[in-house]
Symmetry: C2
């Protein structure tokens, strides 16, 4: 412990999340390389501009248009939208070997599994996967421009087994970059805890005709639905042997009250006609509950309704 | 019994439902008078045209533009949309006295109560109210034109107390007009039984982005939601001491399978930008369940979501 991860880092999915964390790591001295799609030309010519509550900065990062150019990495940070997960095997193929660690900071459930399965071709797999949950408010406001408005801390955990030296070394790299990063013992635990907020506020944000957090908190029925959904997530987490405390639900409710009129990522995607992360945030949690015989009537309603909205 | 109601009948809300039943009663020799709004001019000049699976016919009915012109009735048949229920007191005032019977064929819960309260000014009230449930597929396709495509039978019951001679006399009038009309002992029972279909298929028809009955029956999650909603209605009915049999749920499922791609009235209203009967069909059943401490999570989700769609 105390060691800081010092290998070659590749960022896949350099949007509002990936580009933000990658830029902070790069600025703090890490060796970070970015795969970019739509912003490639702009960032190559003008660099990356981060406006942040923690201080604005500008960087000229190493940027690549394809994974073949990006080449082998010691650590891959995945910030892809989960709706692009089908591309993970081909994205990882040219940049991973048996020693590469893959850290996913994506939303919802099922991402570690998808990555582990893609890594099997290198003779590694689940043991090289680290899961992380980001509490970050940031947006890509223009090509090469990230606006970081609030929060930013991380929780990470090995997908299989206890935290290792490398887990702490990666956390230390984030900490050195000014990003608070807690190391946890079980990735499913931090994922389900985040779902306690994500399921109701992403789900109702789309299903209830673009209800932001203030609308949901201020409407008796919608608030009742949100609380009921939170309790269903707590119950569903037991399908993965995760015991979320009731106080976490109360904390999430207080936290949401403090946020004002906040739009969830799924709501913003919906308003912009982009694909919705329905499967990772609602579908997969719902199916795990159903397989374990845990009733999740409200999640089923959300899933049924939202799948018809896309 | 055997007697046929022979008083002066007024039809309030002469749309696809009211005009259809009124026209059938008129054709069979009853003394029926129609209050009409948007179709008044047309029907006064050209009469009422009914296209029906039971045979087409044309009538020139007595038609009125206001309740003052319509005048006192022995029986008022209410076919108003429940979203217009606030107008009931002023509509009934010039046409009712203490002896007038009011039969509501409207959707959902709470209509008999609204009418009973409006009748109190005449020194009558709940004892003059009869509730009815219509199983009718008909549309107003143009001014003065009704298209009756399927079904048409009625179930009626006194709002307070056991069936009386008058209940059977009214049913006999419908029967003589070729409309099958069952007399039941409890109006809440026939209303809750109809809600077993109306809540899921009207509700999901709007919430799940205009899902017709075939879409709902063909999607695993939506079908699960629909069945769950049916079971919630069965449970909620106990708030009114109504015991709906489980076989009724199965019958409704089979019935829906036989319908093909059917659009509920709320879905059609939604598609045409008209007010939705949310309170009568979902809100009031939900509140009765909540007051009785019966959990109705799916109904709450529907109510929360649909109220945001209007």
């Amino acid at each position: 412990v105390g060691e800081i991860f010092d290998g070659r880092i590749g960022v896949i999915g350099s949007g509002a999340l990936g580009a933000f964390y990658g830029a902070r790591l790069l600025r703090s001295g890490r060796d970070v390389h970015f795969l970019m799609r739509r912003d490639y030309e702009h960032v190559r010519e003008h660099g990356l501009q981060v406006y942040s509550k923690d201080g604005d900065f500008h960087l000229r990062p190493p940027v690549y248009e394809s994974v073949d150019e990006l080449g082998r990495c010691d650590l891959v940070i995945i910030g892809l939208k989960t709706t692009d997960n089908a591309a993970i095997p081909e994205l990882l193929a040219p940049i991973c070997d048996a020693h590469t660690i893959v850290l996913t900071l994506q939303n919802g459930l099922g991402n570690e599994e998808a990555i582990a399965s893609a890594l099997e071709r290198f003779g590694s797999g689940a043991e090289q996967v680290i899961g992380g949950v980001a509490f970050l408010c940031s947006n890509r406001t223009a090509p090469g421009v990230i606006n970081h408005t609030d929060h930013g801390w991380l929780r990470i955990a090995e997908f299989r087994g206890e935290p290792r030296l490398r887990t702490h070394a990666i956390a230390a790299a984030f900490e050195k970059a000014g990003i608070s990063c807690e190391v946890h013992r079980r990735v499913v635990a931090i994922r389900w805890e985040k779902l306690v907020w994500n399921v109701p506020f992403n789900g109702l944000g789309v299903a209830a005709n673009r209800a932001d957090s203030a609308i949901i908190m201020g409407d008796d029925t919608l608030f009742r639905c949100a609380r009921g959904l939170m309790e269903e997530v707590v119950a569903a987490a037991r399908a993965d042997d995760v015991e979320v405390t009731p106080s976490h639900v109360e904390r999430m409710i207080d936290y949401t009250r403090s946020m004002g009129a906040y739009k969830s990522s799924m709501q913003i995607d919906y308003e912009n006609g982009r694909p919705l992360e329905i499967e990772a945030i609602i579908g997969e949690p719902m199916r795990r509950a159903q397989c374990a015989g845990i009733p999740v009537p409200r999640m089923e309603m959300l899933y049924g309704v939202i799948r018809r909205s896309v």
